[in-house]
Subunit: 118 residues, 2 copies
């Protein structure tokens, strides 16, 4: 079982490549077979399989074999954890800006009360 | 000038490491000097500087030197682009689930109209 930090390492690492992001983009629209998934890229099947392995290891994608066809789909949970991490940073950052804004407003008011130029 | 895909490569790569994520977490709360930033980690200054270089290359962090002190802060734009990319995937994925839900509801209704068990 991966801890949350390891899971984020793997998810962000998987997303740090344009081919893998394109694969996740494709799968966000619906499941696809491995060959469908590889079609837009000028790359060998082993190369496609290797990218897919990185995506599966990260938990962003799961696949299932039925007969001779392996079907892939996105797993929303891993994607959502990566989103939540970034989201939390933005919220902290915006809160800080709000506090800074309120503080600047306060000292500007104080300044004008004391007859200082604003 | 980086294109959007290269910028996402660098941003996700920078976030794929727990020390660099901890640095971004710290900087989301406000600017910090390089030594403040390195303090929580049992690591040499060159190692801290190296992580910082990856963060700066990705555009997630900017730094400025005043006298002998280099102060670092988060740059919201790169973080927000990474967030938007993941967000867009979730929206596509949720839309797909909505369409699937509507379709299932439709065929269930059709089935019960025709007297089939639902």
């Amino acid at each position: 079982m991966l801890n949350r930090s390891d899971a984020l390492d793997l998810a962000f690492h998987a997303l740090a490549d344009p081919t893998r992001r394109a694969m996740v983009e494709r799968l966000s629209l619906g499941p696809a077979s491995v060959s469908e998934l590889g079609r837009p890229f000028a790359m060998s099947l082993p190369a496609v399989t290797q990218h897919l392995a990185v995506l599966e290891r990260s938990g962003l994608v799961v696949s299932e074999k039925t007969g001779r066809v392996r079907t892939c789909r996105v797993e929303a949970k891993a994607l959502s954890e990566a989103e939540q991490w970034i989201n939390a940073r933005r919220i902290e950052w915006e809160r800080r800006l709000d506090r800074l804004g309120a503080y600047l407003e306060e000292i500007t008011k104080e300044g004008s009360k004391n007859g200082e130029p604003t």
